[in-house]
């Protein structure tokens, strides 16, 4: 033990004490990676938890929940009376509305049965307190508000609350105030609780409730009761465990969270390379000490353990520092992310910070584990240092050069394997093999980096000497001469840049595909949807009578009433059912088919035959194609439809079955609309028609009318907003990598003090040495950029061709945005030169006498 302590002291503790700044650099690298992971994890967890929390408040204590394809008809609730003997149940109507008090805020509307509510959900009335006043709560049009919400908007008992709900302006009266607990906490407390009838009227769901929550007495078998309920329920209704709704809520914004997670992991991966880089450098630097210790009989195990301890210490210190930075970053990340989720994905969602404990733990595990993994290779390398030749400068590089053949072969094998994995199908809807292929490309990149460094140095030697003189010649010698160190720096930067280039290409491909899709699917001249206040997303729906009303407006050629709602297949898998007037579709088009056929003709045929169209995500998720049967649970029971075509759709990743409206009305009996497309009569402009519609609407409906061009812009604005965070994260990943280059170059400059001193002694000027280090940084950035372009192309192909289609069911037409890619690569190149400034200065200021005296 004493012996090992001395080894540790000679190799790790002593050097760290002597040069603390040098020891701190890798710690900073890990800290940045850990901070990014902690922040992203925190933001992600907060989103998921906020959705789940809201779902839990609504679900209350329920064990089972009864739901239906169009909700649960109130008369069907009668059949659940038997439950009073073994528990209790409470129906719930839910939806959203917009406050018309000038704030434009979106609120959740929850309709409950006050009598039954207490058994299922917690709801505490603060005011009124007397029995007589409480009796008035049952008056239609009376609502309960959480105290905090009421005080924020200045509402008191008896205050009128103006609303836009179900596409019409209306007004309710505050009857009581609720403590901010239980049900009142749903949607972050922005909630309006009322009786079933009032909620049904506000939301256009008269005669139906959205769910019935069932709470069983202790000891009652949920399975048995579930079977009994299922037996008694009419067709189209089902009973399921209460947790499933929370899970479904968690699925929202899945693509968005996936996006964040992928980039967070990338940042950590780059951080991992930084640790490997730092330990590699320390092994290189301490080869003479290792050789001396080995010659004195120190075992390989002791050498390995000493460096492993160092790596772990760097990981632990970096993790600690990163956790502190993560707390600050997390607040910023959450603010950015929650704004996007609330305004784009779920208008009523209120994202609040979830406990920071799990993200701290996750980041700590990630930081510690990645540091340990990163240290393995260089620590093993340290054990292989031979006692005698290691005293000779440059021996490591000599050894590595000899390994370039096997490295190239292993890299080629990795790429072949990656190509093979990219052809494999997803496992349970997750592209495991696609990610495996990405990992193999990363591995190939790491393997090929030393070869790229050698080739880069050799190919630029003449040109650099010609253009930059002695400094250029020195730079290529430095660059090619420090293979180990430069290869790790090149790998880290190339990986971050490659992923950034791939993301830019993927996002550009998605955007272009979405733009084309918008153009081919948005064929109407105008869109009418319920007024949504401040929200960007659709809030509520429109009454069915708006269809004949719109048809009667002068200048309207045709109206396409569009309806979307949640549905499920025979095995309860969630999907979306959509309804559109196929006659309008047959006239104007608007569902671009994947196989290139004319969607107008297909829609006409489908309408006549009672067939359906399905979206691309549906086809991928359910393994269906044209001519197959699509299964759908309807209020009239399970129905199957022949698929007439598969259309491109980016509206959701669950998959949509699109029915002709007449078929939908027949099966669902739901005449409400989510929005309506309007075709203008020939010669009538969109703007003119919009004015006519507003004039005709008067106060009858509360709608927003959007022109085709505005809607296209809106779609692309939402798209850009969703991916704004991606850009910020790309920036972080590249910044971490550039920090890695700076770290490597600073360490390298410090390590090469004697070389610089010698150069100064031989007559090299400070400028020549500083320029050589800057040019070396340029070479590092340049070779990394070339490697990144190749790896980025592979990443982009995997993201666009494998991971995205397998994850979300979306396929994209590849598009290479040369300008943006060149800008990103140039920025990285510039940043890497900037990263050479400090080490350049360190190198130039080397005191030759002091450095040479050290011998």
């Amino acid at each position: 033990m004493t012996g090992f302590r001395l080894v540790l002291s000679a190799l790790v503790i002593g050097p760290a004490r002597r040069r603390p700044i040098r020891a701190l650099l890798p710690v900073v690298g890990v800290a940045v990676g850990v901070a990014a992971v902690a922040a992203i994890h925190h933001a992600n967890r907060s989103i998921t938890e906020s959705f789940r929390e809201a779902a839990r408040e609504v679900a209350g204590k329920s064990d089972l929940v009864v739901v239906g394809a169009r909700g649960v008809p109130i008369d069907a609730i009668e059949r659940l009376r038997f439950l009073w003997r073994i528990g209790s149940f409470a129906p719930l109507v839910s939806g959203s509305a917009v406050l018309a008090d000038g704030s434009g805020e979106v609120v959740s509307v929850l309709g409950t049965d006050y009598g039954a509510e207490g058994a299922v959900r917690d709801m505490r009335l603060v005011a009124p307190t007397t029995g007589a006043e409480r009796a008035r709560l049952l008056t239609s049009g009376t609502v309960l508000l959480p105290v905090s919400f009421a005080s924020r908007h200045g509402f008191r008992i008896g205050s009128p609350v103006p609303l836009v709900a179900g596409g019409v302006r209306t007004r309710v009266v505050v009857g009581g105030l609720l403590e901010l607990s239980g049900l009142a906490r749903a949607a972050g407390g922005d909630v309006l609780v009322t009786d079933l009838f009032t909620a049904g009227r506000l939301l256009g769901k008269t005669g139906f409730v959205d769910r019935v929550d069932v709470v069983l007495d202790p000891g009652v078998s949920a399975d048995a009761v579930r079977s009994e309920i299922a037996r008694r329920l009419p067709a189209g209704l089902s009973v399921e465990p209460a947790g499933r709704a929370a899970l479904a809520a968690g699925r929202m914004a899945r693509a968005f969270r996936f996006n964040l997670n992928a980039l967070g992991s990338l940042t950590l991966l780059v951080g991992m390379f930084l640790v490997a880089n730092a330990v590699s450098i320390s092994v290189l630097r301490r080869r003479p000490e290792i050789a001396t210790l080995r010659s004195l009989g120190t075992s390989r195990a002791s050498i390995f353990t000493a460096f492993a301890v160092e790596g772990l210490a760097v990981g632990a210190a970096g993790t600690l520092l990163g956790e502190i930075g993560g707390l600050v970053l997390a607040r910023i990340a959450l603010r950015v992310v929650s704004g996007t989720v609330s305004s784009v994905y779920a208008p009523t969602a209120k994202i609040s910070a979830a406990g920071f404990g799990p993200p701290v733990l996750a980041a700590a595990v990630a930081g510690g584990l990645s540091s340990f993994l990163a240290v393995l290779f260089p620590a093993v390398e340290a054990t292989r240092v031979p006692p005698a030749p290691a005293m000779r400068p440059g021996s490591t590089e000599q050894v590595r050069r000899h390994r370039s053949g096997p490295r190239a072969a292993a890299a080629a094998l990795s790429l072949v394997l990656a190509a093979a994995l990219s052809r494999a199908r997803p496992v349970a809807g997750f592209p495991f093999f696609g990610f495996g292929a990405v990992a193999l490309v990363v591995f190939a990149l790491a393997l090929v980096s030393p070869i790229a460094v050698s080739a880069g140095a050799a190919s630029t030697r003449t040109a650099f000497a010609r253009f930059f003189g002695p400094a250029g010649r020195l730079a290529t010698a430095f660059f090619g001469g420090s293979l180990g160190r430069n290869a790790v720096a090149v790998t880290a930067l190339a990986m971050a840049l490659a992923m950034t280039l791939a993301m830019i290409t993927t996002v550009a491909s998605m955007r272009e595909t979405v733009r084309t899709w918008v153009e081919s699917s948005l064929r109407a001249d105008l869109w009418v949807r319920p007024a949504s206040g401040r929200a960007g997303a659709v809030v509520g729906d429109l009454p069915g009578e708006i269809v004949p009303f719109l048809q009667s407006v002068s200048g309207v050629e045709a109206v396409d009433p569009f309806r979307v709602r949640d549905a499920s297949d025979a095995s309860g898998r969630a999907l979306t059912v959509g309804a559109s007037d196929f006659r309008v579709l047959a006239r104007a088009g608007g569902a671009p088919l994947m196989d290139g056929r004319d969607s107008r003709k297909t829609a006409e045929v489908a309408r006549r035959r009672g067939e359906v169209l399905v979206s691309e995500p549906y086809a991928r998720r359910f393994g269906a194609s044209c001519g197959d049967m699509a299964l759908l649970v309807t209020p009239k029971g399970l129905r199957s439809f022949r698929i007439a075509g598969v259309y491109r759709d980016f509206a959701n990743d669950r998959g949509t079955i699109l029915l002709d409206r007449s078929l939908y009305l027949d099966l669902f009996g739901d005449d409400r609309l989510t929005s309506a497309g309007i075709l203008a009569r020939h010669g009538v402009s969109s703007e003119d028609l919009r004015r006519r519609i507003f004039a005709a609407v008067g106060g009858r409906f509360a709608v927003e009318v959007t022109t085709n061009r505005e809607l296209r812009r809106q779609v692309l604005r939402i798209f850009d907003r969703t991916f704004a965070v991606t850009r910020a994260l790309e920036g972080i990943a590249v910044a971490v990598a550039v920090l890695g280059i700076a770290n490597a170059l600073v360490a390298s400059a410090v390590e090469r003090r004697r070389s610089f001193a010698l150069l100064r002694a031989l007559g090299a000027s400070r400028r020549q040495i500083g320029s050589a280090v800057l040019l070396e940084a340029l070479l590092t950035g340049g070779v990394a950029t070339v490697a990144a372009v190749a790896a980025g192309a592979a990443f982009a192909a995997l993201l666009i061709g494998v991971i995205n289609p397998q994850s979300f069911g979306w396929s994209f037409v590849p598009r290479v945005p040369i300008g943006r890619l060149a800008a990103a690569a140039s920025a990285v190149l510039l940043a890497s030169v900037a990263a050479g400034l400090v080490p350049g200065r360190i190198a130039a200021s080397t005191d030759p006498a002091a450095a040479l005296s050290e011998e």
Partner: protein, 231 residues
């Protein structure tokens, strides 16, 4: 061993003149490496500086090489006080007027032997660096080893390459700091032989710091430096 008054060169104008040169390394306990030293070396002379380790030999060579500056006193080389030169001119002095051979060879590991030899001339922007390097490598019997890396050479070969590097700029002043200290006796003898030959054929002034009496015996004159003073 020569007497103290033999420190003055016997004939011709001195190439190097040190007057009352001191070098003190500051610190909690300042160390006096050189204590008011006077020395004159004639053009073309071979001077051996002997003395125990820590006596100030390397410090004196570093000062003459322009790698370090004296704390006080003046060092004139070719009539110029190099201690008073601005940094840019001192750099040019090191580049053009002096060659240094170190005990540990100090070849840059990532450059080939030829590139190492070319380096000082390349730093000066001279186009003939390649030809001069080939010529000098030939002169030191390393013509065949030019494209090898330093780690592929023996100690003697590395030191011969370092001598070629010291001569490549055409400098007339060559400083050798324990050039045989890291070599076995046979290779040490070869290196000394080479130094002596090249300084004769090129008229180079040679200052050799050494522990080795055998090496010192080759010199025209020997001085002993002990505790920062000539004895």
């Amino acid at each position: 061993m020569s007497s103290p008054d033999a420190r003055a060169a016997p004939s011709s104008a001195p190439a190097v003149v040190c007057e009352r040169v001191s070098k003190v390394y500051s610190g909690v306990r300042p160390v006096v490496a050189l204590d008011t030293v006077d020395l004159a070396v004639s053009s073309g002379e071979f001077l051996a500086i002997v003395g125990p380790s820590g006596g100030g030999k390397s410090t004196l060579l570093h000062l003459v090489a322009g790698i370090d500056r004296p704390t006080s006193g003046s060092i004139r080389v070719g009539g110029r006080d190099i201690g008073a030169l601005p940094e840019s001119e001192l750099t040019l002095y090191r580049r053009r007027e002096v060659g240094v051979v170190f005990q540990f060879f100090n070849l840059l590991p990532h450059l080939t032997v030829r590139e190492n030899v070319e380096l000082p001339r390349l730093l000066d922007g001279k186009k003939d660096a390649y030809l001069r390097a080939r010529e000098l490598l030939d002169r030191v019997d390393l013509a065949e080893r030019g494209e090898a890396h330093p780690y592929e050479l023996s100690g003697g070969e590395m030191q011969r390459a370092a001598i070629a590097r010291g001569l490549v700029t055409g400098a007339r002043l060559l400083l050798a700091d324990e050039p045989t200290g890291n070599l076995d006796s046979r290779h040490g003898e070869e290196v000394l032989e080479l130094l002596d030959h090249v300084r004769r054929e090129r008229g180079v002034t040679l200052l050799l710091a050494t522990h080795s009496p055998a090496a010192a015996r080759r010199a025209d004159r020997i001085v002993e430096l002990r505790d920062g003073r000539f004895s």
